[in-house]
Amino acid sequence: MKRSGAQIIWETLQQEGVDVLFGYIGAATLPAYDALLDYPIHHVVVRHEQSAAHMADGYARASGKVGVAMATSGPGATNLVTGIATAMLDSSPVVCMTGQVLSHLLGTDAFQEVDMTGITLPITKHNYLITRAEDLGPSLREAFYVARSGRPGPVLVDISKSAIQEIIDWEPDADLVHLPGYRPDLRAMPEEFQRAVDLINQAKRPVILAGHGVILSGAGQALLDFVKQANIPVALTLLGLGGFPASHPLNLGMMGMHGEAWVNQAIQEADLLLAFGMRFDDRVTGTLSTYAQNARKIHIDVDPGEINKIVKVDVGIVGDLRETLEFLLPQIEPRTHEEWNDHIRNLRGDSAVRDVRYLPDDGHLYAAHVINDLWHYTDGKALIVTDVGQHQMWTAQYYRHEYPRHLITSGGLGTMGFGLPAAIGAKFARPDAEVWVIAGDGGFQMTAAELATAAQEGIKVNVAIMNNGYLGMVRQWQEFFYDKRYSATPMRSPDFAKVAEAHGLTGLRCETRADVEAVVQQAREAEGTVVIDFRVEKEDSVYPMVPAGAALHEMIRRPSVTGTPIGLT
């Protein structure tokens, strides 16, 4: 049958199960958008292409399916770059389609021409430049396959206007994926498994380090079974939160720069680290030369490039985490590790008194209290999407993450402005979920224009802004390491409630702890998107903190109630 390139795009997307995409029209994509009207695919008009990529990313992380973003050539395409890099660093399956100039103009610096495959080479899992309609079907098929398989990641398909306009004979369902060099299903050698089993069965002080891979491979149950058998405590990375229930007695919580003291201490004292689908990011290890020096290390990851990248390991197993854990489990001997787990429980002891949850607010509004209260009032069941900064760490610490795919946050790239658009994408993926954005006043303003998108789409996300009048995380570093010289961190913001109202949305303000419950409930009940401006303590800090360049156990601790009052006391 005769089909234009534009029609092939949408029919192939339909075959891939796409029913929504996020984008912004332009000259190069105009014929594709014209054809889109004839297909039952919903297009969300964003206010900036960066947000389109974040929405596709949020959609992907909330659903496990591939998210799709689209932009025109030139500036539209380059605006996607931050969003693509965000998805790359956090292994999120996203397909980005960009328009490109007519094929005979390629390489001539034509109007709105930019070398998008060149620009995105290091920040995509793979990319394509399409100049002929006949290549569209197979390449899009491959793009979806590559994006979601193995270690997921973003794939860019740059499509020349010539290919979009060309009319060819095309058969649906005839396009095949042909990727002879692509191996998403790598397996380890049997002897590697045996060495892992021996180390696990011999360990006296083992700790599991669970990362994003637990969620991506759906290994939650396999991990629970593994822990039930071996009674090994579990520390989580930021992106691993929710992969292992917060309520589990062996859940230690988040590790690393803002991990609790006992978690990092346990890692430093361990004799065996089991790294499950995590990549030893520098925010997790502290100084490498002093990292878990007495521990042997087993690393299970689907990406062979991660083995021995940062930390030299004793056993590296390449493979899908769920499959690998299920394969290992029958060979794992039952253990209680009573002494070790008791020891870690004792380490917790002196941290509890510093825990902000148990500290009185004394009339102040602390962001950590707001987030902990939000957890309480939403029964811990909300889908939380954060921005980047102090509020992100407090959310990791004080919203108890019980379920996988209930926390969406930019970990690897740390992209400010991620929160609101990612939440909009997540809401499209899970319309029944109660979606909350937790953002700072700085990051929120980077993509605040997407409130208009939320209003236009008539969708409901609740936005809780921890407004402290500073770029708080950087201010905290300035306080600790730069003698409180607050260079470029103070920030005057508009009245966020009024901004919401200007969009025809609900805007609320909260200045005391006593009002938190009322505004949260009001937001939950209100129709449409709600913005709450929480006027929190200005100079509050995230504790504990491992300063850059320090060993993992050398933490700046939250001053105890009787200590010097810095931040939360």
């Binding site: 495959t117 060149g118 080479l121 290091p122 899992k125 793979h126 430049l129 590559v146 990727l179 002879p180 060099g181 692509y182 191996r183 790598l186 397996r187 380890a188 050698m189 590697e192 042997r296 990406d303 062979p304 490039g305 083995i307 021995n308 990248k309 030299k312 390991v313 004793d314 056993v315 590296g316 197993i317 390449v318």
Partner: protein, 179 residues
């Protein structure tokens, strides 16, 4: 030490760029690179050498496999292999010096492929050491220009690396495993 890799790739536009971009981004420093077609249509073969330690060599192999267009990676560092560079050297040579230069070329089993009244072009194939050796003795005569293809390597014996391996092992370097 110098690690030698053979990389089979799909013969598609931009693949060399992908490999080069990967090496640059991960700070792997390529010493020599040679690319050409193979006997199989649509498949190109790259040989490159990198001066690095064993752990990094493993990482290079793993990262190359992550490239969708890479079909097969073979590290021949510790395998018996034939290693060759081809070089063309244009050297100053007049009636007086020509005989002794020809003698040198003969000793190194090179060939003269162009002669003028003032110069010669010498073609020499061999290992890097051999080429360096001849360069050293020709240098006093005056080298006008030279070009090298980069090293190509082939494992000895009747077998060739299969282009579709069943699986790839994540290898752990000995020094780490033995600890």
């Amino acid at each position: 030490m110098l690690h030698k890799f053979i990389v089979y790739v799909e013969d598609k536009p931009g693949v060399l760029n992908r490999v080069a971009s990967l090496m640059r981004r991960r700070s792997f420093n390529i010493e020599s690179l040679a690319v050409g077609h193979t006997d199989k249509p649509g498949v190109s073969r790259m040989t490159f050498t990198v001066d690095t330690d064993e752990t990094t060599a493993f990482r290079i192999e793993a990262n190359l496999y992550k490239l969708v267009n890479v079909l097969r990676v073979e590290c021949l560092t510790n395998e018996p292999a034939v290693e060759r560079d081809l070089t063309l050297i244009k050297v100053r040579a007049d009636d007086q010096t020509r005989p002794s230069i020809l003698q040198i070329v003969d000793v190194f089993r090179g060939r003269v492929v162009d002669v003028t009244n003032e110069s010669l072009i010498v073609e020499l194939t061999g290992t890097q050491d051999k080429i360096e050796g001849m360069l050293e003795v020709l240098r006093p005569h005056g080298i006008i220009e030279m070009v090298r293809t980069g090293t190509v390597v082939m494992g000895r014996g009747p077998d060739a690396p299969s282009i579709s391996p069943e699986f790839v092992q994540a290898r752990v370097p000995e020094e780490s495993a033995a600890r």
